[in-house]
Symmetry: C2
Subunit: 334 residues, 2 copies
């Protein structure tokens, strides 16, 4: 497949991954195409064609025979070169797409990326980076958000480089890197953190040291490095708390007498509250360290989230994320 | 010292530990005494006397020469038998107080508890248990919340027993125990979790398996077991998110035109929101596995939090927490 002349390379989108696939994925792709994006859907061609409208701009389609289901182990994708997830990555590897977006099996996405794209020099483990809103208005790059559940200290050091490269691409001049810990005094942290800290400090980075969550979320650093198990628990706990907060607000608003002047005000406050607390993980996270832009979408992605994930992928391509990451790694002698 | 006849044994309160000690601690003790509680303050007697009013009921005082400061290592308390924290625990060990409350150095509190009280049979590591509000209205016992940053799988199994005993004492009939993980499918989790799961399942407990934070906070289990580093990060992240949520609500309310009918409504909604989201860690957490009731208060404890910590200690004594924990451990053959 050759990109149409004069058009940017398409974003490859695995149409078969995600709780509401392929419907939600196709809807998201259509939305993106309507906004001028170039998308190629990978999956069961016949099924996908049925979901596309007969008129108006539509995404391209590339057929894939197989689908990796959520109850399969990540390694099973090794024996499934014709799966939609492998084909999605392969299009990027072959230079036929500029980026891959997958909302399905995270583990299978990572294995597929490694198989079809390979890792950048110096990267033993790719990491998932998520952007979190800080209370000072900035954004925090959190990684690893769940790609690696048993990290060695040297993996954390590599994550520091990957995260700093991402923050640079986002426009942060000299990203401040923090290592997530249970206290900010030297000597705090578990064995993993205490061993990783000197490795990270030895890198050519602005390292603020061990940081606690509230410091990081208040703006104390631009990059927060942690083990993938810990990062995943952190993210999911925060999501659960935010969901509870929204539920409580909703209940409080419902319990009020309706029709009064304040009712509208409560509703609009609620709306703004929701927007400002929204964690960007909703729109997907970046897999850093591979030879290509890969966005891991949320399994519960709705069309809007799919659209955001595509936009995130495009932004990473336009800003030269992979090149920046490679340069950082080379500069560190990793 | 002998307890006054006809009065319950006092709660021993380390007056010198905490960011605003001794002032905030003394104020909290006074508040508790006014509510009929029996408290003994441990610390610099002359300084404490100056902080007490000349009339009305006041706490007792037991003098202690030394203070463990926050920048000292936890082990330094071994060489400080006359420190307020050691003396506080020693009063419980000697049967002169029914429980100990410390808002200072958590590590030093744990070491002091081990030295002066000892661990229950079968407990290699005591754990800090915190109560979290679930969205179904119930309470979740989370442990370890930060006592042990490098747990072995068998420690997690012991925490399951400790947490189940605590939940029983809180009135939960057959506590459902979950193991915190990054996914609920079998095979998910890091090495620690995957090794601990069969050990926990082998205990005489109702084990729901690996659980994610949102499941636990929605009511999927009564006890959530995790490594202390992970538990501490979870708690602190949630606290940071809640603080951000409250800040956003406050800002949204401030930005509204004042004097309108809805203004009061927003304020009262905010108040209720705050109350319902409040995590009980504010009032202290229980150190489980020692031969005596020990409450670890928040370092930033204000008088109200000190008062809550004293109430938590008294409740644990009245409900026979240590006896229940010991019985659970004996029943499991630990």
């Amino acid at each position: 497949m050759i990109a149409a002349p004069g058009r940017r390379l398409p974003v490859a989108l695995d149409a078969m991954g995600g709780d509401d696939a392929p419907q939600a994925i196709v809807q998201g792709a259509l939305e993106a195409v309507r906004h001028g994006e170039n998308v190629i859907l990978i999956g069961d061609e016949r099924r996908l064609r049925q979901l596309l409208p007969s008129r108006g701009p539509t995404p391209q389609i590339a057929h894939a025979d197989e689908v990796v289901s959520m109850d399969q182990g990540a390694a099973s994708v090794r024996r499934m070169p014709d799966s939609s997830i492998r084909r999605t990555m392969a299009l990027v590897g072959a230079g036929e797409a500029c980026a891959a977006v997958c909302c399905g099996h995270t583990g299978a996405s990572m294995v597929s990326a490694r198989l079809e794209l390979g890792s950048l020099d110096g990267v033993e483990r790719a990491a998932i980076a998520t952007l979190l809103p800080r209370s000072d208005g900035g954004r925090l790059v959190l990684l690893d958000a769940g790609a690696n559940v048993d990290c060695r200290p040297e993996h954390l050091a590599c994550f520091a480089l990957l995260g700093a490269a991402y923050a640079s691409v986002l426009g942060v001049d000299a990203p401040r890197v923090g290592l997530l810990s249970n206290g900010e005094e030297e000597g705090k942290g578990n064995g993993q953190v205490r061993t990783a800290l000197p490795l990270i400090k030895a890198l050519d980075l602005d390292v603020v040291g061990p940081v606690e969550p509230h410091t990081a979320l208040a703006g104390g650093c631009d990059v927060l490095v942690c083990d993938g198990f810990v990062g995943n628990v952190l993210l999911k706990s925060a999501e659960a708390v935010i969901a509870t907060a929204l539920q409580i607000l909703r209940e409080e608003i419902k319990g009020r007498p309706s029709g009064v002047a304040g009712s509208w005000m409560l509703r609009s406050t609620m709306q703004r509250f929701h927007e400002r607390l929204a964690w960007d993980a909703h729109g997907g996270a970046l897999l850093l360290g591979t030879r290509g832009v890969v966005v891991v979408g949320h399994g519960r992605a709705n069309p809007e989230a799919v659209c955001s994930a595509i936009a995130l992928a495009r932004e990473a391509v336009d800003r030269g994320l992979v090149q920046e990451v490679a340069a950082r790694l080379a500069g560190s002698g990793a």
